[in-house]
């Protein structure tokens, strides 16, 4: 029994424990310990992150003559580490007061623990899949485990989570069908489900087969990632999941799509071959499509996030936008870009999870995540504020947090490859992120404390410690990104991508040890100046300037509604429900197709439809012969 087997068995055991005793009072603590056990087993697998050979599972069941292979390589280990740590910390978060509160509000705590554990198991199975068949099994498990977590919060979300989850599973089924199609194409071309055979077979494929394969894989994985134009399901589905579950989903769940794309871009098909598929010869190829989709995925969802008034939705929309950075880096294809893209997965998880948890801590204490009904909580929840502050600096991609490092690598890669427009889009996305995360922080914690929140207390330690641990990851890996870049370089090597040349302080001329050092010294100088100056006087929050207005408890000074009124005056007109419209177009065309099929089978316009189908097939075949 290899360590991988132990890990999978341990994860199954955690799930079993969660499903049997998940609703007991001590269950959260026990589960957190079990997750920590999984984490220790992953630490035992740590040589994978430093270039060791993949670990193969002894458990290889056969199914109709095909073998399901489980094998964990450096890439899988990297993602698995993020998954298990996220699962561990969110379960810890739910183990104390939050879990009791959830149960008192009528939530099924046992089911939530089970769902999180099921997600972790499913993702571990997927990430350690060793051939296409086990990949498909893992993929379906991840989809359904995510669905379970999304739809279980119906009562607390006011009935919103159910439809959101159904929408997700519709999209996910489409993705699974696409993956099945990709498997069929791959099996047809190579005669087996092994990765190695597929890699060999890709060279012999005709153009259309290869395009079909890329499109089928890409469809499956981009839907899970929530890339444009398949992003509409993600924000409500994640935002209305039960607190820790939502944090887990937002942190890592949709990144398995990126994991899949990394396999496709890296080992299975290769970014070079994808770049060889020219749509407009000499000017625009399939790789450019991925890069532009990624860049638009950065910009549009980020500015949608800017408009949200619910903190959870705001964060969930950012999760979609941050996926764009990862894909943009990955599609850039060089050592810097893929390194930045893969590193962004860990970075994103490390700040998105504590941000979600901080929002849920505020909800736990105040009962709302409506950004127009909060404010001034820094005086009552200073540690939660600290967590959110670190998180949003990371999310905005500013030094000295880790989000800066990965975004920097992606930027440099784009500049070196001569992609100024994509670079500008990425920077615009960052600008939108800065604006909207400031809105999040300001409307929740800054400004004036409301009368009804005067007696609010800081979140309990059972919630604070996991949040602070995650926030410390943001700071530590921001100061010493080389810790993560070691694993990223091993993942790149496992994928057959160019390997990032890096130091402890960073790569591409960036040394975060210096940057963080300078910032710390700057703060130290500022602190000395502050301490050496005159004594400051604290004043009451109503002793504040509001254009000369007298402030009272009934009439406070707090901007929150229409936070960026001036900006919205300029760009507000660009927000149209165009994607909702596009979705309805897809639905209408599916309707039309089914009507056509109906007509075909009932022979109402049989000859005409047969003619159309024949023409289409002939055109496809001719293209295949021609290339």
């Amino acid at each position: 029994m290899s360590v991988l087997d132990q890990l999978l068995v341990f994860a199954f055991m955690t799930g079993a424990v969660a499903s049997f005793i998940g609703d007991r009072r001590f269950a959260g603590t026990l589960l957190a310990i079990l997750y920590f056990g999984q984490f220790l087993l992953l630490v035992k697998l740590a040589p994978l992150g430093y270039g060791a050979q993949p670990v193969v599972s002894a458990w290889q069941p056969a199914l109709f003559g095909e073998v399901l292979v489980w094998r964990m390589d450096a890439l899988g280990w990297y993602f698995a580490l993020i998954t298990v740590v996220a699962g561990w910390l969110v379960t810890w978060y739910a183990s104390g007061e939050w879990g009791q509160g959830y149960r008192e509000r009528g939530g099924n705590l046992g089911l939530m623990h089970t769902a999180v554990a099921a997600n972790v198991v499913a993702m571990l199975l997927l990430l350690s899949s060793g051939n296409l068949l086990s990949l498909f099994v893992g993929w379906e498990l991840v989809s359904w485990a995510g669905f379970l977590l999304m739809v279980m919060n119906g009562r607390e979300s006011g009935g919103v989570s159910g439809p959101a989850g159904l929408r997700y599973i519709t999209y996910a089924t489409l993705g699974a069908m696409a993956l099945l199609a990709a498997l069929a194409i791959a099996h047809h071309a190579s005669g087996s489900f092994e990765y190695i055979d597929l890699i060999d077979a890709v060279d012999q494929m005709t153009g259309p087969t290869r395009v079909s394969l890329v499109i089928a894989f890409a469809l499956a994985f981009t839907i899970k990632m929530g890339l444009l134009p398949f992003h509409l399901w993600q924000a409500p589905a994640y935002a209305y999941s039960p607190g820790p579950g939502g944090a887990f989903l937002g942190a890592i769940s949709s990144r398995v799509g990126l994991w899949g794309l990394a396999m496709v871009f890296g080992s299975l098909i290769g970014i070079g071959r994808i770049a060889g598929i020219e749509l407009i010869p000499g000017w625009f190829d399939l790789r450019d499509v991925f890069m532009w989709v990624a860049a638009l995925t950065i910009v549009l969802p980020t500015f949608t996030a800017l408009r949200q008034n619910d903190a959870r939705l705001l964060l969930a929309w950012h999760g979609i936008g941050q996926g764009g950075y990862m894909l943009l880096g990955l599609a850039a294809g060089d050592a810097l870009g893929t390194g930045g893209g893969l590193m962004h997965v860990l970075n994103h998880a490390s700040y998105q999870a504590p941000l979600f948890l901080a929002v849920f801590a505020v909800m736990h204490r105040t009962g709302t995540s409506d950004l127009n009904r909060l404010g001034g909580l820094v005086a009552r929840m200073p540690l939660t504020f600290l967590v959110m502050l670190i998180g949003i600096i990371g999310l905005a991609g500013l030094p000295p947090m880790n989000g800066f490092v990965s975004k920097y690598l992606v930027y440099i890669s784009l500049l070196r490859q001569g992609e100024p427009l994509l670079f500008i889009l990425a920077v615009i996305g960052t600008l939108g992120t800065v604006l909207s995360v400031f809105k999040l922080l300001h409307n929740t914690f800054l400004g004036q404390l409301r009368v009804e929140h005067m007696e609010v207390r800081e979140a309990p330690w059972s919630m604070l410690i996991p949040m602070l641990l995650m926030a410390s990851v943001v700071v530590v890996t921001g100061t010493a990104p080389g810790l993560v870049l070691d694993w990223v370089a091993s993942a790149q090597a496992a994928l057959g991508l160019p390997v990032l040349d890096h130091t402890l302080g960073g790569a591409a001329g960036l040394d975060m040890l210096w940057v963080s050092g300078v910032l710390v010294y700057g703060f130290a100088v500022g602190t000395l100046l502050f301490l050496s100056g005159n004594k400051s006087r604290r004043v009451h929050q109503f002793d504040n300037y509001a254009g000369g207005h007298f402030l009272t408890a009934e009439n406070q000074y707090q901007y929150s509604d229409q936070f960026y009124a001036g900006l919205m005056h300029h760009i507000g007109g660009w927000y149209r429900a165009s994607f909702t419209w596009a979705e309805s177009v897809v639905i209408a065309s599916v309707d039309a197709m089914s009507a056509a099929a109906n007509g075909f089978f009932r022979r109402t316009q049989a000859v005409f439809l047969l003619l159309l189908a024949t023409l289409g097939s002939v055109a496809w075949l001719l293209w295949g012969v021609g290339s």
Partner: protein
Amino acid sequence: MNDFPLPVRAERSNPLARVFDELIDFCRARSMFMLHYCTGCGAIELPPAMTSRFDMERLGIQPMVTPRQADILLITGYVSIKTLKRVILTYEQMGSPKYVIGICSCTVNGGMYWQSYATAKKLNEYLPVDVYIAGCMPRPEAVIEGLRKLMGEIKAGRANSWERYFREYDRYLAAQQNLFGPNWQTPTDIIGEARDYQLYGPGTEGRHTELLQQHQVPLQPLRMTLHSDVEKSS
């Protein structure tokens, strides 16, 4: 121009202190943030004074958006009773040293609103005013001239009338209560600040501050805390 005598700066025994005082006064005179409280028509002369033609920034004077960071409170035009309450609130929120400039005849003596029942006539009855710039309206040259005069006074160490508000608070409060009624109050604790600046004098407290303290609700600052039961806020 003031009804009250100017306070005199105490002699310093340390000869170096004088050097530092002069240096500080020089720096103060050369970098001033101005909060303009534009109440009436005189405001129209400020944009040319601030922008490229007359350019008050070459003198080191810039607009500022909050009173906490501002040095000059510049009041243009007539001050109605309702406005005056806001002006006093704003003035009290400024950190010392602070200077007040009244622009236009209305701030000097009510101007064309002399017979109005709703307008405060003399601004310096309610606040210590450093410089008046008369005229209806004064041209930008006159505004700049007034600012230069204030700069000269600061540099010479004579622009100390803000200290008077702390030393003679009872008399200013008397005028304010006379106009606004006995229930008048602002959130700022002037007497505490007078002690803080070591400007507490025999005129700081009196009959009128007693009246104020009878109904004033003290506002405790909001402290950062992990457990709110440590402090029951007002």
